[in-house]
């Protein structure tokens, strides 16, 4: 079993309205040194497979097809034996 953690975040240049609002909230709480906030999402998978290479191929495919939208999002991932 492998544990895959996928981070999906908005591409630079795409307006991150949630990040902006969260930034404002942090500032109003007194965290005045926060310069930027970006909100993304983390997707965790448990997946069976023979090799890390095989898992990596599948993860890339699922990110391109469903988990991320290449028009607005970038993704990165980590894979570890679980």
């Amino acid at each position: 079993m492998w544990l895959v953690r996928i981070n999906v975040e908005l591409k630079k240049g795409v307006l991150d309205a949630q990040g902006k609002a969260t930034h404002q909230a942090l500032l109003s709480l007194g965290f005045c040194h926060v310069k930027e906030v970006r909100v993304g999402k983390m997707i965790e998978l448990k997946i069976e497979g023979r090799s890390q290479e095989d898992i990596e191929l599948q993860v890339k495919d699922m990110c391109k097809k469903l988990l991320a939208n290449p028009v607005i999002e970038d993704f990165k991932y980590t894979i570890e034996a679980g």
């Binding site: 908005l10 307006l15 309205a17 949630q18 469903l66 939208n69 028009v71 607005i72």
Partner: protein
């Protein structure tokens, strides 16, 4: 036979409004099509209605885009069939890459539900042929993720090919930042594909079909489709 097909996904909630608009107001035949169907034979126009398909999980429209019916919708569109996506339906069409770009969270972060003025930018399409260029319409919007985004090259192509059919405007038709409710690039409210048979828009024409609803500006959109289909059949 000129029949409309309205796709029902889990979480669609404007499907009945579309049916009412077409069947009860305009008196044209329409069917509801459950998203697990795989066949669109016999339909002249397919509508992906508004709603919150699959609870908007992951991204708006992302999961509905892989519903069984969507392969048929893509084939139908590739063959030149008319596909209209309203609100969530627009989001599904971008996820399915039948339309370019994406719809992201409104820049103001709020869910917006209001009457909205939009301006007709182009009348050379099956969806806008009965409008007049620069005509100002009042059509309701109701969305949380209606901010149209695409990279600069895509926006340039949309402009060059005149694929932007509606833009948000003020009551005088001015395309201003203040009149833009959700932060959409270039005030974009609705775009068609290059072939002009697929159209997506965030405003809800099916919600303004009768005087008692405060506006009948949605009628011309559906009547344009009917006129176009009649012309195609007469050919």
């Amino acid at each position: 036979m000129m029949k409309f097909g309205i796709v029902q996904f889990p979480g669609s909630n404007c499907d009945s409004d579309c049916y009412y608009a077409i069947n009860k107001v305009l008196r044209y035949p329409a069917d509801m099509i459950w998203h697990k169907e795989k066949n669109l034979d016999g339909y002249a126009c397919v509508i992906l209605p508004g709603g919150f398909t699959y609870g908007d999980y992951l991204r708006v429209g992302a999961i509905a885009r892989y519903s069984p019916i969507m392969s048929a919708v893509v084939n139908f569109a590739k063959k030149g069939g008319l596909v209209l996506g309203i609100c969530n339906g627009f989001q599904v069409l971008t996820e399915a890459q039948l339309l370019p770009g994406a719809l992201i969270r409104n820049s103001c972060l709020h869910f917006i539900c209001q009457n909205q003025t939009i301006r007709v930018e182009n009348v050379d399409s099956p969806y806008t042929k009965l409008f007049q260029k620069n005509q100002i319409l009042q059509i309701p919007i109701a969305h949380g993720e209606g901010c149209y985004y695409a990279d600069k090259e895509t926006i340039d192509l949309l402009e060059t090919n005149q694929q932007i059919l509606f833009r948000y405007c003020d009551s005088n038709g001015g395309i201003t930042k203040e009149a833009n409710p959700n932060g959409s690039i270039a005030n974009i409210a609705g775009i068609c594909n290059k072939e002009r048979n697929v159209f997506g828009l965030m405003p809800h024409p099916e919600r303004c079909m009768e005087d008692c609803l405060g506006s009948i500006d949605g009628r011309l959109l559906f009547e344009s489709i009917i006129m176009y289909l009649k012309e195609v059949i007469l050919k």
